[in-house]
Every structure is written in C-alpha cells, then in structure tokens.
C-alpha cells in the first residue's frame, strides 16, 4: 500500500529524536485520529541547522515526518516555509488517497515549530500563521451515493 520510499522512511526514519533546548518546537495533532507530531528546530542565522521529530501515528505520518525534516534541514526559514505537504508527498513518490491528510501534519508541525521560534525570539516571519489547533480535517473521500 505504501511506496518503497515511504517504507524506507518509515523503517529508517531520518532525524528522529529530540533537541535539547531547541530554538523552536511545535506539536500538532488531532485527537480524533489520535496522531501527534512534534518538531524540534535549531535555528542559527536564519538557517535551520538541525531538526528532529517525534511522531505518534501511522506509517504515512512517520514517513512524512522523516521526509519533511530532510527537506528543511540546512534551509533558510523562507525556504522551509515553501515545504508543503504536496512537496513532501512528491518526495515520497506519493501516498495512498486515504493517507494524504497525514502529510498535512508534517507541514503544520514545521510551521508550528517556526512560530514557536519566532515567538521566543520576538521576530516576525512573513507569511507564517499561528498554528491551528486541529490539523487534519477528516475528509474521507467516501463515494457513497
């Protein structure tokens, strides 16, 4: 059901773990589907020097967390903001339809961590919105009727 890339990132997640005294952390999730993601960022001179994640969730949630950290690592904040759930999915060679929403978690977790960083350091990041409470809207694409 998952692509090889997804399975690879699931079985060998990159950047899994914590950063002590991170410059920003963000935790997002949806109590309904029970999945929670936490991102730790180490930002220096506007560059994401290090990033780690922790995820309580399905295979797609773990794999997208892992891929998302890969995509933002070493990038500037502006570049990191360009990483969307679409680009994460593309980098993973796609996700099953029912799992598309899982990739939103990764995008939102990074935004939440950046928001936390901005709050702590009293700066404003253009285009960044405060994190939402609930990330994924469960739009099962049920074809019924």
């Amino acid at each position: 059901m998952y692509t090889e890339k997804v399975m690879d990132h699931f079985m060998n997640p990159r950047n899994m773990g914590e950063i002590e005294n991170a410059s920003g952390t963000g935790t997002v999730g949806n109590a309904k589907c029970g999945d929670i993601m936490r991102i730790f960022l180490d930002v220096e001179d506007n560059i994401i020097k290090d990033v780690k994640f922790k995820t309580f969730g399905c295979g797609a949630a773990v794999a997208t967390s892992s891929m998302a950290t890969e995509l933002v690592k070493g990038k500037s904040i502006e570049e990191a903001l360009q990483v969307t759930n679409r680009s994460v999915m593309e980098a993973l060679d796609g996700l099953p339809k029912a799992k598309v929403h899982c990739s939103l978690l990764a995008e939102e977790a990074i935004h939440a961590a950046l928001w936390d960083y901005a709050q702590k350091h009293n700066i404003e990041i253009e285009g960044l919105e405060p994190p939402k409470e609930d990330v994924h809207d469960h739009d099962h694409d049920d074809d019924e009727e």
Partner: protein, 393 residues
C-alpha cells in the same frame, strides 16, 4: 520476506485442503443448476441438502431452518431488515449493543433513518452487556434484540443463553451474529432460545462469499433478495453450490475436532497474552479474561499507534491486526475499544493476535521475541511517551 506467520485468523482463514477437495467437483463436473429438472442437477440438490444438514447439526437446528447467503454481512442485513419489515406494524424499536460488527451497526443506523428507534446498549470494561440494562431497555414496541455471540475484536463472549431467556420471556425476537463464535464455541439454538443466527464460512476454514442465516421455524421474516424460487423462495439467486458444499464440510470438521482444537489454541493464546503482558510495560489485555474466544488475544500498548506496529510486524513476517480488518479503511479508533472505555490514544495502540490451525509454539516464541523491541522502538519515536517519561522523572 521469507518468514510469514499468520496471526489474523479472525479476519479470515484459508480454505482447508479437505474443504477445497469437496468443492472442486462442483465447479467443473456437477455444475448443473440445482433448480433444474434433469437428473444431473439432482446431485447438486443433494449436495446442498447435505450441507444444510451439516450446518443445522452443528447448531442444533433443523435442516429447513438454514438459509444460505453470500456471507455473514448479508445474513446480518437480512435478519435485521427482514424482521424490521415484518414487524413494523407491531413496533419500531430495536435493541443492539455498541460493540456489534458494522454489518449490524450500519444496518441499524440505516433503519434509524427509516424511522426505527435503536437502543445501543453499553458494555462493561470487559465488553459484556448488562442483562439488567437489556431488560430495562425492552419496551412495548421492541421487535428485535440483536446481540453478537462473540466479538470480533476483543473476543468477548456474551451470556447468550441468558439473553435468549429474557427475549423469550418478553416475547421479543432474538438475533445473534455468531460469525466469530461459529466453529470454536458450542452453539445450541434451541437451548439458547435463538431465533435468528448469522454465520459465515470463511472464518472457519471454509470459502469466502458464503454464509447462512438460521431462521427458527415460525419466525416471520421478509425475503431480502428477490427473484427466483431458491431457498424456499426466501433467498433468490442461483445457489453457490461449491461454496455451500465447502461451508457444510468446514462446519462439520470444525465441530468434529472442536474440543481438541480448543485446548491447543487456548494454551497458545495464554502463552501469547502472558508473554506480552510480562515483557512489555504499559500493556493491558482487552476483553474478558475468561469469557473470550479461544483464539483471541487483544492487547493495548500505551503511547504507540496500531498501524505502525502492524507494518513493523509485517516487516518481520508477522501478520496481525489492529481492530477489525473491515474497519482498517477508517481512521477512527475502533468503536469496540472505545466502548470498553479505552482512551483514544490507547485504543489506537491495540494489537489483535488471533490464532489458527497452522500456528505453533515457535511462532509464538518468535512473536514474543520481536514484539517488545518493536514496541520500544515506536515508543522512542513517540511524543506521548516522551511527555510521559518526563512527567515521571
């Protein structure tokens, strides 16, 4: 992947060799339409009669109380909608439980949209309904009680005989979904006062796509699938002869060897449960400790999520399930685990191991060897576990 250990016998079983051998001639040689006049069709008519007898014998029914269907789901739909339609002039109230299979729940929800009222009984922490609640729920206009014999996720067996007694006393029709219980639990429709009972062949080493509904003589029930005169005009459609023959053989075999099989399976299951609970912290057994299906072990692990667990087990060659396979398309936590009171996150982290005829001690040893590491690995990834550990430092 070289190793593949199947621990998901509650989702489906392979068709056993003996069963398949009985079926084969009915595909290619005795293929005639049983409704036909000529003599070669007679063989098929006889084969269906024999299967009907095999099914009837297993549950202590009469032959003419068995009606073949396309599976357990159709049997559930038929039982509930058929009774609803027959008795709606008498009343429009149905009693069921919160932990029924979706074939029952979604059918009840459908009837609610048509103006029926449905009481969904709560269950206790072990997944059992309270008989007192049941009695209290029965009203003047209650026409049907539908309570499953044994649950497909947590394995809990209900007090079916007591429920049957209450239903009989109150004059309410009693349907039970016995899809999971059939083959491994003693069932006696007469002694237990069961009016309707749903069955499915693929859960007991029979083929997929065939099942049956037991309808007690005298119970008025509308036909559900209309058409030809098959099954005494109650279930239309050309009979799935090979499937029916296979079902008959499978149920006969299951009950012939039940006691012996049960002992073996219970020993293995208890080893699974004990092994996991002892070696994995923050784990608990779901379902009833003793009133449970012989082959079912359902265990929750705090702080981790079921799908990830299943995939990691799969990578190690172990097939298991997290809640009902039928619901794995859904993202909501299992309605059964919620009903027994598990918090959302814990419900997510459940593992169902259901054992079957091919499982050995070695299979279980292997599972017990790999599982604690996998759980630990997932916990190391989990923000919930992190929070918990920090809180308890």
């Amino acid at each position: 992947m070289d190793k593949a250990i199947y621990f998901d016998y509650a989702a489906t079983t392979p068709t056993s060799k003996e069963v398949l051998e009985e079926m084969i001639p009915f595909f290619t040689q005795n293929f005639g339409n049983p409704s036909s006049v000529y003599s070669i069709a007679g063989k098929n008519k006889e084969a269906i009669l024999k299967a009907r007898e095999q099914v009837a014998t297993a549950i202590n029914a009469k032959d003419d109380e068995i009606f073949f269907t396309s599976g357990g789901t159709e049997a559930d739909n038929w039982a509930i909608k058929g009774i609803a339609e027959s008795y709606e002039s008498k009343g429009k109230h149905i009693i069921t439980s919160k932990i029924e299979h979706h074939a029952v729940l979604h059918t009840c929800e459908y009837l609610e949209k048509k103006g029926f009222q449905v009481t969904y009984l709560e269950v206790d922490e072990y997944g059992r309904i309270s008989l007192q609640d049941l009695e209290n729920a029965i009203r003047e206009d209650t026409i049907l009680i539908s309570i499953m014999f044994a649950n497909n996720e947590i394995g809990t067996i209900q007090s079916i005989k007591e429920i049957g007694r209450i239903a009989k006393e109150k004059g309410v029709i009693f349907h039970t979904d016995a899809v999971q219980a059939l083959g491994s639990v003693h069932i006696d429709v007469k002694d237990m006062n069961i009016d309707l009972l749903s069955m499915s062949a693929h859960k007991l080493y029979g083929p997929k796509g065939v099942g049956a509904l037991y309808i007690k003589k005298g119970v008025k029930i509308k036909a559900y699938i209309h058409g030809g005169a098959q099954e005494k005009r109650r279930r239309a459609g050309t009979e799935n002869v090979p499937g029916i023959v296979g079902f008959g053989k499978a149920i006969e075999l299951a009950y012939a060897n039940r006691e012996e099989n049960t002992k073996k399976i219970i020993a293995l299951r208890d080893k699974v449960v004990k092994g996991i609970l002892e070696n994995v912290p923050y784990s608990r057994l779901n379902g009833h400790p003793t009133e449970r299906l012989p082959n079912n072990a359902n265990i929750s692990f705090d702080f981790i999520e079921g799908e990830s667990l299943l995939i990691m087990l799969d990578m190690k060659g172990v097939c298991a399930s997290s809640g009902s396979a039928c619901t794995s398309g859904s993202l909501d936590p299992s309605h059964v685990l919620m009903a027994i009171g598990l918090p959302h996150e814990t419900a997510h982290g459940s593992l169902r191991i259901t054992l079957g005829d091919k499982n050995t001690e070695e299979d279980v040893d292997y599972l017990l060897e790999i599982l604690p590491q996998i759980v630990q690995r997932l916990r190391d990834m989990s923000p919930l576990y992190e929070d918990f550990m920090k809180m308890n430092q």
